[in-house]
Symmetry: C2
Subunit: 158 residues, 2 copies
């Protein structure tokens, strides 16, 4: 396999942009992710690839749950602040309002849609862990269209 062809082919896949958050005994954690897809209608399952050496990964491993937020077309800046993780200050997460969700994960107030999920299985074969999760809570807050990673001008594939 030619590694350049492999990189360029994998970069043709289409992704959204999502903010994932979790909380363990230590603190909140968060990150901007794009390797995410639904994986079953019934039960409602999703699969997500989360960077192995991240604080978000650690918090998901510890709490076995996380929240996913769909980034809206106007919210590129919000997504950018989560590239470096999440920090709770004055009751906000990277400056954004949130509330504690059903799983304990922080649920941000502003994204157009969100869901919380509980980890059923994880697969540790590569540099990201694949978490297979059941969606246990969800909500839609606005009709704002989702931002794709291509529209945002970011790239995380290959």
């Amino acid at each position: 396999m030619d590694p350049i062809q492999k990189k360029n082919a994998l970069r043709k896949l289409t992704y959204g942009l999502y903010i994932a958050t979790a909380r363990d005994a230590e603190s909140v954690a968060g990150g901007t992710i794009n390797w995410l897809s639904q994986a079953s209608f019934e039960p409602p399952l999703i699969m997500a690839g989360i960077k192995r050496d991240s604080r978000l990964h650690q918090a998901i491993e510890n709490s076995r749950a996380f929240a996913v937020h769909v980034v809206g077309k106007s919210q590129k800046n919000m997504a950018t602040t989560f590239f470096k993780g999440a920090e709770e200050t004055n009751g906000k997460l990277n400056g954004f309002a949130f509330a504690k969700g059903a799983t304990g994960a922080p649920v941000l107030a502003d994204p157009p849609a969100w869901f919380e999920c509980r980890v059923l299985e994880s697969f540790h074969r590569g540099d990201h862990t694949i978490f297979v999760c059941e969606v246990v809570e969800a909500g839609v807050r606005s009709e704002e269209e989702p931002l794709t990673i291509r529209e945002a001008g970011f790239n995380y594939a290959g």
Copy 2:
């Protein structure tokens, strides 16, 4: 959880449109899929959700390999023909040229990019199986932009 909120939140996820193909001892098989994402850079892994009761699923289970083709912006019609599976007639697949790939899966000639992958693990928890696979061959054939499922006017989520 409110099932309507769950459905609407999951429908805000962003997906491309892909044609997956496989071959087992019986015949070729194929389908249009969208639940697909990269899952690791090193090794290059992908994860795909494949409908459990489909002929494509059966051929992947048997051959432990499949090919994925990125559908280009001009190729909505090609994707549509694979909604009902794949049939080999006069050396073509649903009327489209293909060649046998490294894994034995049929590789279509027209899509802008494709890769072949071998199944490492599978999770059978929902109505779709999650196949975790290593990318073993790949190619890019044109600079045509990928079609998203939203642009195509299709919907497979919720």
